[in-house]
Symmetry: C3
């Protein structure tokens, strides 16, 4: 029995190696045929975007990576897989993005033109995949994650292309990134995860891993204004609003997460690090659609506060309910941090869009936020309708592409033998501290 | 007795929850009435300030937060309270800033106009409060910190408004931020801290917590040039000088801190991590007033080196003296890192200002540093006098506002039952390593 | 015997203190005589370089510092010495740079004019020294590192000055930084390191130190595009290419390092954290010379992938071979991460340069990359020859200056009594977890 299990394990690693080889060959061929630098880019704008891309990049690799290190025996995997998934999506995203662009507009040539905006949207794509990863981390093999990354980039770029063609306003991706990634991950969690994962004794933190996880939290918190303002035209008023709204929304969700954590963690009426690590960030997710809109600072605070309430209640109440009643095991709580606040963000975006010009933005300022506002038949209420429609499209595409991806992951790969355990795929150093009980048990 | 203690503890958490609710309602009402985006901001300058604000933001949340994690059983609280205090001050600062502006100039409308400079000065305000926190961390309840945050933002903004009206040059806040925050914290430490805190066995580091604390040190060190150059006009020569002076000053204080640590830690003639974590940064504090002045690079090195000497001697000699003789328990040594170098910085600023134009700055360059230099009766020596006067004003306002705040903290709140212990307010994971002696004690 | 050992230890610390005093006096005198702010700098360019310098600075202090914390009982030293070595080189670099500039052009005045480019090149110099440090960390005393820093800055600036005079294209320093620093460090490792270091039981990681090391990896990875694009003219197409090429190269070396780690770590067919922490970065090193050249994105991917293969094979196979057969103990594997990928980078740079204009760069774009391309007798093939010649010059100067420096380190200093042990020079907190076996051994 044990022998068989090891055979399966080795096999997953070999498949992962093969997947990497195939993906890299695919990327090299496509890049060789169609990729070049963007020689027509507006160079000052391009350079101005660079520091914001770097901030977003920190959110992806440090933020998401370390946030997931709360799993005390899965810290190497959390940062390691974040690293390699991010690297893969940097090469795959521009390819699928270019393919869909061609597919939707057959006159457009199949070309990848690299500039800093390409790097930024590649980071966004990596973000969506890492959100998905948050739902299934510790419960799928490295090979299964590679399969997921390959197919999810296809779905992500399709959905993003539709949003561009529809003229959707979603600057920080409440819908495109958070809702898509989270719905995708929740579907995978539902269809892939074995019962043995539930209440697993290793699916928990220790004092050290809670602190390293907080490194992720704090870098996500700090740089979220760049996430929501990054795609805006550098130096525009819309960009300034995106900074301000996001920061205010985050500060409100941070305060509220501390508050609700204290009130609803019934066991001991103390702050729970799970809430502090995650729900504090809900304001950034919820501001992803309307960050650059003229919504007034007070609404940024209120939206952030409400997202903080919903998210903290999700972590303290909903998560265990879903696990026991629906059979949904969501490792990092992406339902609470990304799905619900993301959908709320989409709804608020629709409401704000339908009242867009009421505060006196001029035509140029409107155009910066709503790419279709220069059309003659554009109206605020129509934009609101587009936003709502796209929210449903996002959920639909996420649903469909996740079902297909989950099927492929099940067909091609195998669930790991040991859940939430680095030793499954990583060489572990001789000295490890995850369980002093091991030492205590040796005491006669 | 134990029951009573627990009752008190719970009560502090409830009071904290109430405080958060009241502060958030207050912030929402004021923001709803008077806050808007700054539609008249110079957008290119506004965008140019953004990356520097982000650097400063990292200093606040990662720098201060992790620097204080050296307390081996108070790491959650160090980063958690830093987080929520920072969030609160982001909403409170703009309110009080706008109120004092109105109060000092009754013709000026009561308006909050958000731009990146607002975010930057909010971060500075959070910095001052976190310096204060450094003096009392581990020894006050979460509710007491909320009370402190509320009142200290009032005093901070008053002092800052006076500095603006007086035309004080204090770009990186040797006086406004470091001296104010540190004097405030030392007063609170003196009047609030019980004898039981002295020589407390948990007020110490372990190997792991010393390393996480160093994460804070190094981010503070790296981004300090942004702290001292942030408010300067983007692209000005004064900004260039602020980068250079701060970096040189820091490199000198870093070298000197290693040197003096070796020479004065009499017990073992080895580097002491307390000095390395803290005194290395004294050059940044001491350069806070004169960073943008035309002082010549060599003076930046000399000022940094002297600040490093003073600060390291403070940690290795003065701190235990203050604790045993004056009864002042200063957890993080804010006397040594912020108070003394801050006052030195204020004095050096006064000296440099009184010799301002001697190196041939033209009128525009002078105006960038000294906002009143365009007035006909302005002179260098007058500016020097203003700087000295404001140093005393800062200490006076810090003294007065801290006495009042300390009184309120004592009246409304209670000292924690367990000092330097996360378990007081945070849910602690089952596995914790703070004391292998616990395991050793179990060995028969 | 034990008494003698302690006497030696103390003596190294005293010599370190003396070295710091002498270096600081030297720096103050030279700065006092010749240093000023660069009043003629192009201020917008200067400000535009600042965020990229900050990224590079993070790579130096967080990246290199934390990467080396994998040594489980040498973490304080890894971050501490990185810190002080960085600080020293910030003051020494501008001095030697100015001296060599004068020496090579006697008409040029001996002046240090500080701007952000000075800070950036100082960071690069610190980078080279820290690469060297990676080869000898844990095996030399603090005083020996100070000696090394002093002499290596001289050799580094000489080599850099030659590269400028020759018109070498080496924007991210595959040759000037990585090859120079690595060859220097390998020579020192060969001539200084005692046999007792080989297979030392403390020259290894634990679970915690592997994770803190990964903090270094990830910050190096994220900010490497700034490292390779930093010296480019802000907003130029060459800068855009440098971002893109570096990011693509890194993502390829990351994927390949995971792949080869799995295939070549024969013992368990699992990912090895040493490869993940280091070889993933080889793409950044290898792109150091040709990052800003018009090489096409697909070549960036291919170069990164090849560098990843070479580097991972270096870690998994070559390193133990060198240790056992050649007697070369290379603590961090600088042969694999810096020397081989750096030399490859130099070679690829030469090849790319010899084909420079073939993709239609205009004269201005060529001049941005090749400073001598405006000369009438310049040709692509000539540039290729210059590049190859300089690669040999770099290795030669590194060889010679390292031999001299190693001789001085041996003459003046002493090998530490305890290798890979913080307790040698740092005060260690009472609680330390490096070896639970100590506890287990106490169990009767």
């Amino acid at each position: 029995m044990r022998h068989l299990a090891e055979a399966v394990t080795i096999s997953e690693q070999k498949k992962f190696a093969l997947a990497i080889v195939l993906i890299e060959i695919f990327c090299v061929i496509i890049h060789g045929c169609v990729a070049d630098y963007d020689n027509d880019t507006d160079l000052p704008d391009n350079a101005a975007r660079y520091p914001m891309w770097q901030d977003i990049n920190v959110m992806i690799f440090v933020g998401f990576g370390f946030l997931m290190t709360f799993l005390r025996t899965y810290q190497f995997s959390a940062v390691g897989y974040t690293f390699v998934i991010g690297a893969i999506s940097f090469q795959l995203y521009p390819i699928w993005e270019a393919i869909w662009k061609c597919a939707f507009d057959l006159d457009s040539p199949f070309k990848i033109h690299y500039n800093t905006l390409t790097l930024m949207t590649s980071s966004f794509c990596a973000g969506a995949i890492l959100i998905t990863f948050g739902g299934i981390i510790g419960k799928v093999s490295c090979f299964q994650m590679a399969v997921c990354t390959f197919f999810e980039t296809i779905g992500f770029t399709l959905n993003e292309r539709i949003s561009i063609n529809m003229g959707v306003a979603d600057i920080g991706g409440s819908m495109v990134i958070h809702t898509y990634g989270a719905v995708f991950g929740l579907i995978l969690a539902k269809i892939l995860i074995p019962r043995s994962a539930f209440c697993h004794k290793k699916a928990e933190s220790n004092y050290f891993s809670d602190l390293t996880s907080f490194i992720g939290t704090i870098f996500l918190y700090m740089y979220w204004p760049s996430f929501n303002a990054g795609p805006a035209t550098p130096g525009s008023q819309a960009q300034n609003r995106a900074y301000i709204n996001t920061m205010l929304s985050l500060s409100a969700s941070c305060m509220v997460a501390f508050l609700i954590s204290l009130l609803t963690r019934s066991e001991d009426k103390k702050f729970n690090m799970i809430d502090i690590q995650n729900a504090t960030l809900a304001g950034g997710v919820a501001m992803g659609t309307c960050a650059n809109m003229n919504i007034l600072p007070v609404w940024a605070i209120l939206i952030g506060a409400l997202a903080g309430v919903v998210s903290t209640l999700g972590f303290s109440k909903l998560q265990s309910f879903l696990e026991s009643k629906i059979g949904l095991h969501d490792t990092c709580g992406i339902m609470n941090l990304h799905c619900m606040p993301g959908i709320l963000g989409g709804i608020w975006g629709a409401i704000a869009a339908s009242k867009a010009s009421s505060r006196g933005d001029n035509a140029a300022q409107l155009l910066e936020v709503y790419p279709k506002s220069s059309l003659s038949d554009w109206s605020q209420s129509k934009q609101g309708g587009i936003q709502v429609a796209f929210l449903f499209i996002t959920i639909g595409i996420a649903f469909g592409s996740a079902l297909f991806t989950g099927f492929m992951m099940k067909l091609l790969g195998n669930t790991p033998t040991q859940l939430f355990e680095d030793g499954e795929s990583y060489h572990i150093p001789r000295i490890r501290f995850e369980d002093p009980e091991e030492i205590i048990n040796k005491i006669p």
